[in-house]
Amino acid sequence: MGASLRELRQRRKSVTATKKITRAMELIASSRVLKAQQAAARTLPYTRELNRAVSAVATYSRTDHPLTRPQADKPRRVAVVFITSDRGMNGAYSSNVIKMVSQMRERLDAEGIEMVRYAVGRKGIGYLSYRGMDMAASWSGFSDSPTYDRAVDIADRLVEDFLRPYEEGGVDEIWTIYTRMESMLSQTPRARRVLPLEVVQGVHEVSGEELLPLYEFEPSPEAVLDRLLPLYVRSRIWFYLLQSAASQLASQQKAMKAATDNAQQLIEGLTRAANQARQAEITQEISEIVGGASALADLTQDQN
C-alpha cells in the first residue's frame, strides 16, 4: 500500500510541474499574440497605399506585365509555399496547413499538374524531409516573429522562379497556404494565389467607391509598374507571414490553455486517489493494531 501512495504523490508532483510550464507558455503566448496582431495591423496602411498605386497604374495604362501574365493556358507546374511553425506545442496549427498541402497535391495530381513545394518553418521542412519528399527551397527560424527582410527573401525567390521559363524548371503559378487569423478562437488555413497577379480586381474595388485622379507618372507608367509589382508580391508574402505568426501564437495559447486545464483535472484526480490511498493505509494500520492488541488481550486472558 505504501508504494502506491508514494507513486501517486510522485505523479501528482510531476503533473504539477508540467502544469506550471504549460501555464507559463500560455501566458507568454497570450502576450505575444497581441504584439503579433498589432504588427499585422501596422502593415495595413502600407498595403492600402500599395493597392491604390497599383490600381492607379492599372486604370491609366495597360497592366500587361510579366508578373500579371499567365505563363500558359493551363498551368503545368505549380509552386506551393506553405507556412508552418518552427516549434511544436501549438495544437493542430502546423498539421492543418500540411493537411491542406496534401489536399492540394491530390487535386493537382488528378489534373496531371506537377507540384513544387516551398517550405517555411521547421515543422514543414521536417514533414517533407522525413517522408523523403523534395522541396525547391525552405526558410525557417522566424515563424513567430517574421521580419520584412525575410518576406523579401521569399518573395524574390518566388518571382525569380515564376519568371524562369517552364523548360528551365520555372513554375506557372504560385500559391501560398497560410493560416488566417479570424479571431483569437479560430484560425483557418487558406490557399491563395500569389502569381500571376490579379490586378483587375483592385481596379473594380477602387473605382466603385472613389474616382482616381489623373496621375502624372514618373518616369513612365511602365517603369512605375515595374517597380510596384515586385513590392506588391513582397507585401503579400509579408502579410501572409504576419497572419501566420499571429495564428500560430493564438493556436499555441489555446493549446496550452487546454493542456493546463487537463493538468489541473489530472492533479485533482491524483490528489483524490492519493488521499484515498492514505486513508486506506491508515485504516489498515489501525485495524492491524487493533487486531494485534485484541489478539494479545486474548492471549493474556487465556493464560490467566
Binding site: P45, A53, A56, P213, Y215, E218, V224, S235
Partner: protein, 134 residues
C-alpha cells in the same frame, strides 16, 4: 492656406504622418519639391533623405529606401519598404553600416543587393546628419 497631408508609410508601419507645407524627395528622375495643390503624381523614389517642412515650421527628415511618392488632392504618401525618421537614427550605427557596405562594394561585390544596402545606408547617414547638424 492649403496644406499637405503627409504620410510616410513603411512595410512595418507608419513612420511619420502630419500636416506639412512642402515635401522634398529624390525620385529616379531627380529631386522633386511638392507644394500644396501639386498635380496628381506617382513617381518612383531613389533611396534618399526626404525633407518635410511641417506646418509649425519644423523640418522632419526621413530616410527612405526607394519606393514611391504619390500626390493627389493635397495628400502626399511616401511609400517605402523601409523608412526611418532621422531623429531615431543612430549616427554611429549609420556610419558603421555605410562603411561596411562601402567595404563590400570595394571588394567587388557589385550586385544589386549590396548596391542597395550602400544607398540605403547613405540615405540614413545623410538624414541623421541633417537632423543632428542643424
Amino acid at each position: 492656406m492649403a496644406q499637405l497631408r503627409v504620410e510616410v508609410v513603411a512595410a512595418e508601419g507608419i513612420a511619420w504622418e502630419g500636416d506639412a507645407l512642402s515635401v522634398i524627395a529624390r525620385t529616379s528622375e531627380g529631386d522633386i519639391g511638392i507644394m500644396p495643390n501639386h498635380e496628381p503624381l506617382l513617381a518612383t523614389l531613389s533611396p534618399c533623405a526626404a525633407e518635410i517642412l511641417t506646418v509649425d515650421g519644423n523640418r522632419e527628415v526621413v530616410a527612405v529606401d526607394g519606393g514611391f511618392i504619390s500626390v493627389a488632392d493635397n495628400r502626399v504618401s511616401v511609400l517605402s519598404p523601409m523608412a526611418r525618421v532621422a531623429a531615431e537614427i543612430d549616427l554611429k550605427a549609420a556610419e558603421h553600416e555605410l562603411a561596411a557596405a562601402e567595404k563590400r562594394l570595394n571588394e567587388g561585390e557589385i550586385d544589386e543587393q549590396t548596391r542597395h544596402h550602400y544607398l540605403r545606408a547613405h540615405a540614413q547617414l545623410k538624414a541623421a546628419r541633417m537632423a543632428h547638424g542643424h
